[in-house]
Structure formats: structure tokens, C-alpha cells
């Protein structure tokens, strides 16, 4: 039996009450959605290593099958870092400290774009163009690299001592553009020198055994991770207050001394983090190594022989491996190894960056 309500709510109040209930419900739904999303992330972060761990299997012959792959990965990443660090760090130092602001504003996004170049494109160029070219011109590359630093020092010396002061003033900040001509000249010279040296005994010693070797991988992989190294190192160097360098210069230090003795040590954690993350990225990079390394599981450090990395091996063998077989278990074991190393490097880099942040905040 319905009880008559002595004070019926007005329709307007009822509407307000309904509306308030709806709003409260929406609030609840949003909270729930956000919690679910966070839970999903937690599950995902846990599930990834656990799934790899769950299916990985340690067969008695794991060592001879996995260790050469690990050696290949480390070799490729090592050569990549050897190429990427001088390029990326040099570019970062110049960009953060010496470049005119307009150039910096242009260069930063440009390097971000280069970071986005698909690895398969770089791998294609490495495998089809760089590899056959390098097979014939290893000596030219050697000459070029050997003469690069002396050339730069000499160019700087000549410019400092011999160029008229008016020229120096007019080109202040834009000296880099002047290096272009000597660089091109050096490239031409080293090409000619490499061809001339090709007949000597050295050439036979340095002749790569296969077009797809560690050198090609190192060069292209280095080019691929260079933007990573660049942007992290540049951020670290740019975060150091300019007053530090200016103070040092006011006290009589040259720009070089201020950079070498002051800025780099202060920004060292950031630079080390850049190196670690670059190494981690090079370890995990698949397509370039897959296409340009020849995929022969060798365990040596020579840049003139091929290699087979964990990542490339995964891409080659995982699609065909039968779930549950021993080979599948070993694949997952190698993936777990790669995952662990990358995780370790990333955590380490994060720690080191935290130190940089504290140090810069202290200044």
C-alpha cells in the first residue's frame, strides 16, 4: 500500500537530484577506469618478464647456442657506441654550448626526426649499398678516421693564428660551416689514398671476409643510436647553468678549458646516462643487425667478420619455432637475457640521471 508523501518534491528539485546522482556516478566510473588502466599497466609490466620466464627453458646445450648470440649482440652494440659517442657527444657539445641559438632551435627537432627514421631503411642502405662499398674501401675509411682529428685541430689552429681578425669576427659562431670544405677535401683525399694503398700488404690484412660484417653494422647502428645519445647528452649539457662557464671564462679559462674541466664533469652523469641508453638501444635494435650482419654466430671481436645478435636471431627463428619445443625455450631464454640486460642498463641510466638532476638543482 503506497504511503502518501506529505511533502512532494518539486519537479525541478527532482531533476537536480537526478542530475547530482548522475554526476556522482560519472565520477565513480572515471575513478574506476583510471584505476583499471593503472592496474593494466602494473599487470603488463609484471607479465612481460614473467611470460618470458615461464616459457624459457634451460636445456643442457644452452651455452653454445646462446652465448655466441650474446657475444654478437655485445659486439654490435660496442661498435655502435664507438661510432655514436664521438658523433653524438660532439654534436651535443657544439649544439648546447657553441651553436647560435637559431641553429640550436633548428638542430634539436632535426635530430628528433632522425631518431624517427625507421631502422629498416637504415638496414637496407647498410646491407645493399654500404656493405659492398665498404668491402672495397675499408682503407679509405681508415685513412679518413685517422686524419679527421688532426685535420680539425689543424684547421682550428690555422683559423686562430692566420685568419685576419675581421674575418674571425664576421664568422663568430658560424665557424663550423667553414669546416665543410676541408672535410670534403679530406674525404676525396682518403678515397684516393685508400685506392693507392689497396695493392699493399696492409690491404690484404684488412680485407673483410664478407661484405656483411661488424664494421658495417657498427657504422649504421651507430648512426641509428647517435640521435639518442645526442638528445640526452644535449639536455644534460644545456641544463648546466651558463654562469658556470661564463665565470670560468671570466677567470681566464679558454672556452675549451671551461668545457673540458667544468661543464663536462658537471654534466658527466647525463653523458654517462646517454651512453648507457645508447648502448641499451643498440643491443635491442633488430632490423639493422638482421640485414647487415650476415647472421653468422661467431664469437670474436674482429670488426671484419660477421655476427648474429640475440634480437636478429629472435626475428629469424621465432616465427618458425614450434611452441613448447626446446628451440622455443632457448629463444625465450635468450630474449630474457636481452630483456634483463636492457632493464639493468635502463635502471642504471635512470639512477645516474637522477644524480645529474640533483646536482644541477644544487647549483
Amino acid at each position: 500500500m503506497p504511503v502518501p508523501d506529505p511533502h512532494p518534491a518539486s519537479p525541478l528539485a527532482l531533476r537536480f537530484a537526478r542530475r547530482a546522482a548522475l554526476r556522482a556516478r560519472r565520477e565513480c566510473w572515471l575513478q574506476l577506469g583510471l584505476r583499471l588502466a593503472a592496474g593494466f599497466l602494473a599487470v603488463l609490466a609484471l607479465a612481460m618478464p614473467l611470460f618470458l620466464l615461464g616459457s624459457a627453458r634451460l636445456t643442457p646445450d644452452w651455452a653454445p647456442r646462446v652465448l655466441p648470440l650474446l657475444a654478437g649482440s655485445l659486439k654490435a652494440a660496442l661498435y655502435a657506441i664507438v661510432v655514436a659517442v664521438p658523433l653524438g657527444l660532439g654534436a651535443a657539445i657544439w649544439c648546447a654550448r657553441f651553436a647560435p641559438p637559431a641553429w640550436r632551435a633548428l638542430l634539436k627537432p632535426l635530430f628528433e626526426l632522425f631518431e624517427a627514421v625507421p631502422a629498416v631503411v637504415l638496414g637496407l642502405i647498410a646491407a645493399l649499398l654500404l656493405a659492398p662499398w665498404l668491402l672495397q674501401h675499408v682503407l679509405s675509411l681508415l685513412v679518413f678516421v685517422a686524419l679527421l682529428v688532426p685535420l680539425m685541430i689543424a684547421a682550428g689552429f690555422v683559423w686562430q693564428r692566420l685568419a685576419p681578425a675581421v674575418w674571425q669576427q664576421r664568422c663568430a659562431g658560424y665557424e663550423v660551416a667553414l669546416l665543410l670544405a676541408p672535410l670534403l677535401a679530406l674525404a676525396a683525399l682518403s678515397l684516393a689514398a685508400g685506392d693507392a694503398l689497396a695493392a699493399t700488404a696492409w690491404a690484404a690484412l684488412l680485407q673483410p671476409l664478407t661484405p656483411w660484417n661488424g664494421l658495417v653494422v657498427g657504422l649504421m647502428l651507430g648512426l641509428a643510436v647517435m640521435p639518442t645519445v645526442f638528445s640526452l647528452a644535449e639536455d644534460a649539457l644545456f641544463a648546466v647553468p651558463a654562469e658556470l662557464a661564463l665565470g670560468a671564462q671570466a677567470l681566464g679559462a679558454t672556452r675549451w678549458q671551461a668545457l673540458w674541466r667544468l661543464l663536462l664533469p658537471v654534466a658527466a652523469p647525463g653523458v654517462v646516462a646517454a651512453l648507457l641508453l645508447g648502448f641499451s638501444r643498440a643491443l635491442g635494435e633488430t632490423m639493422i643487425v638482421l640485414m647487415a650482419s650476415g647472421n653468422t654466430p661467431l664469437t670474436n671481436v674482429s670488426p671484419l667478420t660477421g655476427l648474429r645478435s640475440i634480437a636478429a636471431n629472435l626475428a629469424l627463428e621465432a616465427p618458425q619455432a614450434a611452441p613448447g619445443s626446446a628451440g622455443y625455450g632457448l629463444l625465450l631464454l635468450s630474449a630474457l637475457l636481452l630483456f634483463g640486460i636492457c632493464l639493468l642498463l635502463n635502471l642504471l641510466a635512470e639512477q645516474v640521471r637522477g644524480r645529474l638532476r640533483r646536482r644541477v638543482a644544487g647549483l
Binding site: 572515471l30 599497466l41 611470460f51 633488430t286
Partner: protein, 402 residues
């Protein structure tokens, strides 16, 4: 050093363009006579490569594409001239046939190609510059819009686009929710710190590991389970497919979306939030009506970055569903229109396959470079768009903050 980096990358681009153009340039046709072990031979063939020591020529491909390459040493060459009436026919399936004069040529077994099969008929040795340019443009268009048998990348392009769209449909809601949780709700508690660290580390996991994870979890785990449940004789969901690839890529791009969205949320001025709350909005209304609309360019940036990252990734797709040749597109006019369990072709995968596993090396390599150039243009264009949008966003955030 920066100069050296830029030089190296400019060289990469220049080489790519130069190689890609070779895929479309018309090849001159020569009448050749040379000595071989089997005596004197004569042939009408396209000269693909020529240097001081040897020629590489391609004769009429009556049997199949790429079967008629020949390497002839200069020393063996008796006669080489370029007849003005030489023409090359290109058939719809990518084969090329050379002839002199206008009559349709006859195959060694007596058959003739039907006029309907002929896609292109060019007087190779008599092209003016304008005609060459027109021909190259037409061939480039055929390459982009053509089928896989005729040497086009259209199926791969469709596969890539469908894949990244499906991926962004999956990843965007989740990524935005996660960013909202991390930025608006989580605060600096312990669970939030742990999840932030997990996010940073997920961003650093190699892409191929995501692929393997997708293979283990989606393809072999979920897909295999569904197949077993439905008692299907042939693996339908238990093989690589579009849905599994999209899910894998969604996991891969999740950190990208979250980081970009969080950056955008951080740029929304606190005054706006406080104002909305002070006017009686609930938190959900504040986020939905005020914060998200202001952060819309950041969402766009996140979307573009995720798409660019996904479009350029190949390694994980090799494990979970991209194949060298798929007989059907993943999107067509048959119900249910979008075929989630189908294998598909991908632009990056095509680059890899054309370069290293093609049956017709010289042409496939040139085409691999063209496909790579296309991929590069798509990915770099998307990233450039993201950078422009982000810079606009920064300017607007500065205006709002003043």
C-alpha cells in the same frame, strides 16, 4: 661533429632517392650479338648495368619475372647497337618483353600476349626528356597503387594504414586514461612511483621483445586457446594476424602515448583546474570538460607519435603477423569488412623482403629503395607534424599561463 652527422644523414637520404629513382627509370634496349660456349648468340635485351668489363642484360621474360638476366663480358661482345624501333612491353604481372616494330611479339612456344595483358608499351630508345619524366611519374604511381604481383606496394600500404589505425584505436583510450591517472590522481605515492618507473622501463624494452611477448601471449596463448575451443582444424587465430599485431604494437606504443599526453597535461595551467573545481564541477567534469579540451593538441601529438613509431617498426611484426605475400587485403567489401585474423603485408616488411629475399634482384632492390623512401616520407612526415603541433601547443600554454 654535428656537421658530420648531418652530412651522413643527408648522404643516406640522397642515396635512397638516387636508388629509388632507378626503380622507375626506363632502361634502353639493345640488339646484342656475343660469343658464348654454345656458339654465337643474338638477343634483344634491356641493358640493366654496364661497366668497363661487363654488361648485365635482361631479355624478354616469357616464363617469369626475373628469369632472363644475363651477364656478358665485354670481351665476348661482337655487336651492340641501339635500334630506334625497339619497344618494351610491360605486362600486368610485371614481366617485361622486348620487340622491334609494332607487332605483338611471339613467345618461343608460339603464343602471343593478349593486348589486354599489356600495361605499358614504350619506345625505350626514343624517349624525350618530357616523355621520360611522364613515364617515371606513371610508374611511380603504379608502384604506389599497384598490386603485389605487378610489383606494387598498395597491399602493403593498406596493411600498414589499417594496422596503425587499429593500433591507435586500441592504444589511445588506454594511454590517455593512464596519463590522467599518473598525472591527476596518483600523486607521489609509492604505487605511483613504482608505476612511473615501470612505464619508463617499458619504453626501453627492445621492440623485438614486444614481438616475442605478442607471439607467446596473443598468438600461441590466446589465439591457440580460441582455436582449441572452436575445434578448428586449420589455425585461424593461432597464427599471426592483424589483431595480434595491432595489440602488440599498442603495447609497444603505450609508453609513447602516456609520456606525450602527460607532458601536455602538465602544461595545462593549474588556474584552469582550480577555476573549474571552484565553480562546482566534479573532478570527472573538470578533466573531461576543461583539461582534456585544453590538452587536445597534446593528444594529437601523442597520436601522431604513436602512429609514426608503429609505422616504422618491423621487427615485432615479423613475429606476429606481417607476411611477405598475403593473398587478400585485411579490409575489403565482404562481411565483416575488417578481417582481424588475416595475415597482412606491411611496408617495412616489404622493404626487408624485397631487399633480401626477392626473386628478381636488380629490380627488387631498386623497388626496395622506393618502398623505403615511401616509408621514410610517411614516418618522417608524421613526426614532423607532431613536432609542429607540439611547438604550437607550447606557445599556447605560454599564452594561457600569462
Amino acid at each position: 661533429m654535428a656537421g658530420l652527422c648531418l652530412l651522413a644523414l643527408a648522404a643516406v637520404l640522397a642515396v635512397l632517392v638516387q636508388q629509388a629513382v632507378r626503380a622507375f627509370a626506363p632502361v634502353p634496349v639493345a640488339e646484342l650479338r656475343w660469343r658464348s660456349d654454345a656458339g654465337e648468340q643474338q638477343m634483344l635485351a634491356a641493358v640493366v648495368f654496364e661497366d668497363a668489363h661487363e654488361l648485365v642484360v635482361r631479355g624478354s621474360e616469357w616464363q617469369r619475372r626475373g628469369a632472363e638476366y644475363r651477364r656478358i663480358a665485354r670481351a665476348d661482345l661482337l655487336q651492340l647497337d641501339w635500334p630506334a624501333d625497339a619497344r618494351s612491353l610491360r605486362l600486368h604481372d610485371g614481366r617485361e618483353i622486348h620487340r622491334r616494330g609494332l607487332a605483338l611479339p611471339q613467345a618461343p612456344d608460339g603464343s602471343r600476349p593478349a593486348a589486354a595483358d599489356v600495361a605499358e608499351d614504350v619506345a625505350s630508345n626514343r624517349l624525350s626528356r618530357g616523355e621520360t619524366a611522364g613515364l617515371m611519374l606513371r610508374r611511380a604511381w603504379d608502384f604506389v597503387a599497384g598490386t603485389a604481383q605487378g610489383g606494387g606496394v598498395f597491399p602493403a600500404l593498406v596493411g600498414t594504414v589499417v594496422l596503425v589505425l587499429l593500433m591507435s584505436v586500441l592504444v589511445m583510450p588506454l594511454g590517455v586514461l593512464l596519463a590522467l591517472w599518473l598525472h591527476e590522481y596518483a600523486g607521489s605515492g609509492r604505487s605511483a612511483r613504482v608505476l612511473r618507473a615501470a612505464m619508463a622501463n617499458l619504453a626501453g624494452v627492445p621492440a623485438v621483445i614486444y614481438g616475442l611477448f605478442g607471439l607467446v601471449l596473443f598468438v600461441n596463448g590466446v589465439g591457440g586457446g580460441v582455436d582449441a575451443l572452436m575445434h578448428s582444424a586449420t589455425p585461424r587465430w593461432g597464427g599471426g594476424g592483424l589483431l595480434w599485431s595491432a595489440l602488440t604494437l599498442a603495447l609497444l606504443t603505450l609508453p609513447v602515448v602516456v609520456i606525450a599526453t602527460e607532458e601536455g597535461l602538465a602544461r595545462v595551467p593549474a588556474a584552469l583546474r582550480h577555476g573549474a573545481l571552484a565553480l562546482g564541477a566534479t573532478r570527472a567534469e573538470m578533466l573531461w570538460r576543461v583539461v582534456l579540451p585544453v590538452a587536445r593538441p597534446a593528444l594529437l601529438t601523442a597520436f601522431i607519435l604513436a602512429v609514426a613509431r608503429a609505422a616504422g617498426e618491423v621487427a615485432p611484426l615479423m613475429l606476429v603477423g606481417a607476411v611477405r605475400y598475403a593473398p587478400a587485403l585485411p579490409l575489403d567489401g565482404e562481411f565483416p569488412y575488417l578481417h582481424l585474423s588475416r595475415q597482412f603485408m606491411h611496408l617495412g616488411q616489404s622493404v626487408y623482403d624485397l631487399a633480401l629475399a626477392g626473386g628478381d634482384a636488380p629490380r627488387d632492390m631498386a623497388q626496395a629503395h622506393a618502398a623505403a623512401l615511401l616509408l621514410l616520407v610517411v614516418v618522417v612526415g608524421l613526426n614532423a607534424a607532431a613536432i609542429v603541433v607540439r611547438n604550437r601547443l607550447r606557445e599556447r600554454a605560454r599564452e594561457l599561463a600569462v
